[in-house]
Amino acid sequence: MERLEILKTYKIYIGGAFPRTESGRYYAPFVNKTPIGNICLSSRKDVRNAVVAARSAQSGWAGKSAANRSQILYRIAEILEGRRAQFQSELELQGSSKANATKEINATIDRLIYFAGWCDKVTQVFGSVNPVASSHFNFSTQEPTGVVGIIAPEDSSLLGLVSFIAPVIASGNTCVVLASENMPLCSITFAEVLATSDVPGGVVNILTGNTKELLEHFGKHMDVNAIFYGRSSDDEIKKLQTLAIDNLKRIKIKSEGDYLNDKWENPYLILDFMEVKTTWHPIEAISATGSVY
């Protein structure tokens, strides 16, 4: 007798758990006129739950040593490498050619490694000790902005997604991600990679759903500190920029499509979601003579 295949239920990822949307709704994206599965149609309440999870995880994640975050990002790449077969089939199911899917997976793994390497270098390269005129030790260093909303690229469900998440979490931010609406499969499978990669629950939260419905809830939320927007609708951009004013969210827009390009690997994407902090500390000047040796 032929064995009946078990089909996978795609759920969302909040606080390290995989709930269904609280709304109970679903949608079915089509590829070549075939539905690829029943996907959670997340609601405003899901966004709010995810922000709570991201906020509670943020200080712990930022409080880890940079070297530790570096290892955890590397660990994501290790686990992803081991699950490439699943991504390969999902990317193909979402319409990619075999060769392109392989290329996308390779680039995704390497991108994680690239940003893993920055965790314990970014403040070293971009921080400074400032030669102020008074007798003070004065230094500036970057700290993570906080909770970042990510509107992930629509056209690149794995590499695009990871290119947006990696620089945001590298410095100690946590995030709430709205996945590609029409190609959501890889994003949920990537959540399963995160869940088994030593990434604390709540650091990355991934929702699937309708951009039109959810965008304003990202934009309006007073506990979201920044938004990384990866699509190209001028209306959406204007809407986000307007909504962001209430709590002065930082809005970063990156609409370029070719995620295989090396320009997606640079530390400035990390700095976009960091704040500069300057500390002043007095230096006693009682030894006027200095040392003669």
Binding site: I113, Y114, V125, S291, Y293
Partner: protein, 492 residues
């Protein structure tokens, strides 16, 4: 238990407070009887045909035989490094190079306990130290530098960094595996290939690392390990096809190497001796300071180039600091490095034992007053109890020369000017320590110290992101951090 004495009350923990043995198991380690040279990705017999013993300094038992590389062996190693550089390593992208280094880091983490045990057996350091510091830090160095391989242009904007080629590296016996990591990790990250000679008394972890390079699939010849004594090192230094020499060791040998490469185009980094001042101000948190002084001089049996071997105590707190220091020294456990209770392990070699004993004799002869707590030292092996000297002058030999053992020379001072001058009055300038609860005073002192690393209210802290290296005769160049990369690069 407190024991009454006519003069003063002192702690004597040795008689009443026994600790149950807590030995680390050695059953899981794999050592060969005989180790050959690691050249071109393979273990090869030395052309010299010679081998020497490596022993456990805590038991004087032979652990294995190590090959002695002669000039022909070194030539083969350099040729193999050159070939690997020309044909493979220089053609890889930074990204792919970095992935090899990440692999090495991960493999060290996976086999960390095995390396720790071998490090302690071969070198005499406590298992607690090798397990918690040396080996994890070595892995961290590889991990940190792996990330630099494809990011070098951010460390040196507008300078187009390029690899040097083949680098010769000579490492010391005090932190065998850690110093190898400090050398190999940045060299590989910056795109060089390596010929490395580990110290003759502690070659084992280097050779285990060679096995690990094979497991990592590191291309043949990218790292070559030639074991042997000083002459083997001199063959590396003098080889015409070596582009750079990186050395960690004594200032004396460092100067010989500098002389040998003068007039050649070889670059160098020298991480040499030290005679660090550790300064306790009267407003310091004294218990914390005493702990820091203990760690500063007795960590790794005092075999530390940055050891806080000169202690300066402000006069007003001298009596109380001395009492706390002596009490703390009573509680130190000296003995079997493999026991997890041990604080001070075995002296690395007979030769070093003799050196330290000589300095102790000299200290007494010059009129300084010695204090050692009661210790039951094992019958076999090389041991020195923790030792301090008072009545020391700036001109005392034990206050001027690097002893490289658990021997502390103590002086006092009255004013901040006085201590700054005393602390800096040395040809060395590797490190210093300052203890005070007042931040502004701390920063004053740290900015006045002529030393490459200054610890404030802490001591002997190391991190891959933090550059290490000295002023003056403590050497030149830095290891670790962004600055450490420069030593392995050339620029337009």
């Amino acid at each position: 238990m407190a024991k009454k004495n006519k003069k003063e009350i002192t702690l004597d923990l040795s008689s009443d407070w026994g600790l149950a043995p807590a030995p680390e198991s050695t059953s899981h380690i794999k050592l060969k009887k005989k180790y050959d040279l690691f050249i071109g990705g393979k273990f090869v017999k030395p052309k010299s045909g010679k081998y020497f013993d490596t022993i456990n300094p805590a038991t004087e038992e032979v652990l294995a035989q190590i090959a002695e590389a002669d000039d022909k062996d070194v030539d083969l190693a350099v040729k193999s490094a050159r070939k690997a550089y020309d044909n493979v390593w220089s053609k890889l992208s930074g990204k792919e190079r970095g992935k090899y280094i990440y692999r090495i880091a991960r493999l060290i983490q996976e086999r960390a306990r095995e390396f720790s045990v071998i490090e302690s057996l071969d070198g005499g350091k406590t298992i607690r130290e090798s397990r918690d510091i040396d080996i994890p830090l070595a892995a961290a160095h590889f991990f940190y530098h792996a990330g630099w391989a494809d990011k070098l242009e951010y460390a040196f904007p507008n300078r187009k960094p390029e690899a040097l080629g083949v680098v010769g590296q000579i490492t010391p016996w005090n932190f065998p595996m850690l110093m190898i990591a400090w050398k190999i990790a940045p060299a590989l990250a910056t795109g060089n290939t390596v010929v490395l000679k580990p110290a003759e008394t502690t070659s084992l972890t280097a050779l285990k690392l060679a096995e690990l390079f094979q497991d990592a699939g590191l291309p043949d010849g990218v790292v070559n390990i030639v074991t042997g004594h000083g002459t083997t090192g001199s063959h590396i230094v003098n080889h015409p096809d070596v582009n750079k020499v990186a050395f960690t060791g004594s200032t004396g040998v460092g100067k010989i190497i500098m002389k040998a490469i003068a007039g050649t185009n070889k670059k160098s980094t020298m991480e040499l001796g030290g005679k660090a001042a550790n300064i306790i101000m009267e407003d310091a948190p004294l218990d914390q300071a005493v702990e820091g002084v203990i760690n500063g001089i007795f960590f790794n049996q005092g075999h530390v180039c940055c050891a806080g071997s000169r202690l300066y105590i402000q006069e007003s707190v001298y009596p109380i600091v001395m009492r706390k220091l002596k009490d703390r020294m009573q509680a130190l456990v000296v003995g079997d490095p493999m026991d997890k209770n041990t604080d001070i392990g075995a002296i690395n070699s007979k030769k070093q034992l003799d050196t330290i004993k000589n300095y102790i004799k000299l200290g007494k002869a010059e009129g300084a007053e010695m204090y050692q707590p009661k210790c039951n030292l094992p019958k076999k092996g090389y041991w020195v109890p923790p030792t301090l000297f008072t009545n020391v002058a700036q001109s005392s030999t034990i206050a001027k020369e690097e002893i490289f053992g658990p021997v502390l020379a103590i002086q006092t001072f009255r004013t901040i000017d006085e201590v700054i001058n005393k602390a800096n009055n040395t040809p060395y300038g590797l490190s210093a320590g300052v203890w005070s609860d007042k931040g502004s005073k701390v920063f004053n002192l740290t900015s006045q110290m002529k030393a490459g690393v200054v610890w404030a209210n802490t001591y002997n802290k190391f991190d891959p992101t933090s550059p290490f290296g000295g002023y003056k005769e403590s050497g030149h160049g830095r290891e670790g951090g962004m600055q450490g990369l420069e030593a392995y690069l050339k620029f337009d």
